[in-house]
Amino acid sequence: MDRIPILRMSEFLLVTIQVDMHDRLAMALQEDLTDQIVRHRSHGVLIDISTLEVVDSFIGRMIGNIAGMSRILDAETVVVGMRPAVAITLVELGLSLPGVRTALDVDKGMQLLRTSLHGTSNGAS
């Protein structure tokens, strides 16, 4: 079975989701990512969804789960690059991903992680 590659960038992990995932692939990503967080002692995860044209409640739930699990493993998750049409649809769907931090692109997401990890003490929420 194919898997979504997870890149390690210094202290962070970067996942770029580029394919229209079927549900099992999404579940596999969730497992792989938590494994890698523990193995590399990463403190931040960036999930780039800028090429995703659809995020339904299943993928939305997976993203929320990853954020929740990462938090328990002491890592921050930032979702970056969500498209406007996807954001509008998710809100209409009733999914606002409350516990998930977001940024416009990978650069800004990285900045956000850095300030919340090394910046002011009240940075991480």
Partner: protein, 285 residues
């Protein structure tokens, strides 16, 4: 039933020139200040009467929506539209058609006057027929107006939702006028696209120019804020007037997760703080 009985087709055929003349004279004699010019009137009357006479020959007198009346309807449609552009009232256009009743009634009385029952039937048929055609001109007029309103609404929609860049990373969306759900959707999409385009971290939605906020509008605003957050930008809602603050609380709309400010200036200051910039008066040394 009128199909068999009516003598109207026959009467029109035999006296067409005379009826037309009476009709036009009748209209010209009643001079109203806003009436059509004589030349135009004669031309329209001739065209309409010709088509009307032909359509009546089909014998279909009960219903003008059929194929027999297509040419008449088309002519009236054009007439109604051109009258509107020339500034005639819809009453004027309808009167044009309805005034044909008098010469027709006169003829009918002459032709079938001895048979009271037949006269009543014929009169009734002609009245119904001309009423339908008169109403049709009004309908066309209304439809024209509706199209105009729809076009203007669309124009307004495109004009009224500018997204402006206030500073690096700071956008503002000054909303003016009533928000309905169609407009809010356009506003929302515009703002979100502009956020992607400029990479802005903060968007200020200023509702100073929005007269009322009901539950629906408040929900639309909240949705916009939520969608922007999903993309990675924060929104500030500013320009909330006291009455609007009251209605929002009375409606029980939850604005707790949204940063709100009384004025655009306050919102701008917060936005600058959040993006790490600041503005101050230059201090004299």
């Amino acid at each position: 039933m009128t199909k068999v009985a009516s003598r109207l087709p026959d009467i029109l055929k035999r006296h067409d020139a005379a009826i037309l003349k009476e009709w036009v004279n009748e209209q010209l004699s009643v001079s109203r200040p806003e009436a059509m010019k004589e030349s135009a009137l004669r031309e329209h009357a001739q065209r309409f009467f010709g088509l009307f006479r032909d359509a009546v020959q089909s014998g279909e007198l009960g219903d003008v929506s059929g194929p027999a009346w297509a040419a008449v309807r088309e002519m009236l449609g054009e007439l109604s539209q051109s009258c509107t552009t020339l500034g005639y009232t819809p009453t004027e256009t309808a009167t044009f058609v309805l005034s044909l009743k008098q010469p027709l009634f006169t003829r009918l009385r002459q032709e079938v006057g001895r048979d009271a029952e037949a006269l009543a039937d014929e009169t009734w048929a002609v009245t119904g027929l001309l009423d339908q055609l008169g109403l049709y001109t009004t309908e066309v007029f209304l439809k024209g107006r509706e199209d105009l309103i729809r076009r203007q609404q669309q124009d307004m929609m495109e004009l009224s939702t500018p997204v402006v860049q206030l500073w690096d990373n700071v956008l503002a969306l000054p909303l003016i006028g009533t928000l309905d759900s169609a407009r809010t959707q356009i506003v929302m999409e515009n703002l979100l696209h502009k956020i992607v385009e400029t990479g802005a971290a903060i968007a200020i939605i200023d509702i100073t120019g929005v007269p009322t906020v009901d539950t629906l509008v408040a929900q639309h605003l909240l949705k916009t804020v939520a969608a922007a957050r999903l993309m990675g930008a924060d929104c500030i809602i500013s320009g909330i007037r006291p009455q609007i603050a009251q209605t929002i609380v009375h409606l029980g709309v939850e604005l707790a997760n949204v940063v709100t400010k009384a004025t655009l200036a306050d919102a701008f200051q917060i936005a600058l703080q959040k993006t790490g910039a600041s503005i101050g008066k230059a201090t004299a040394r």
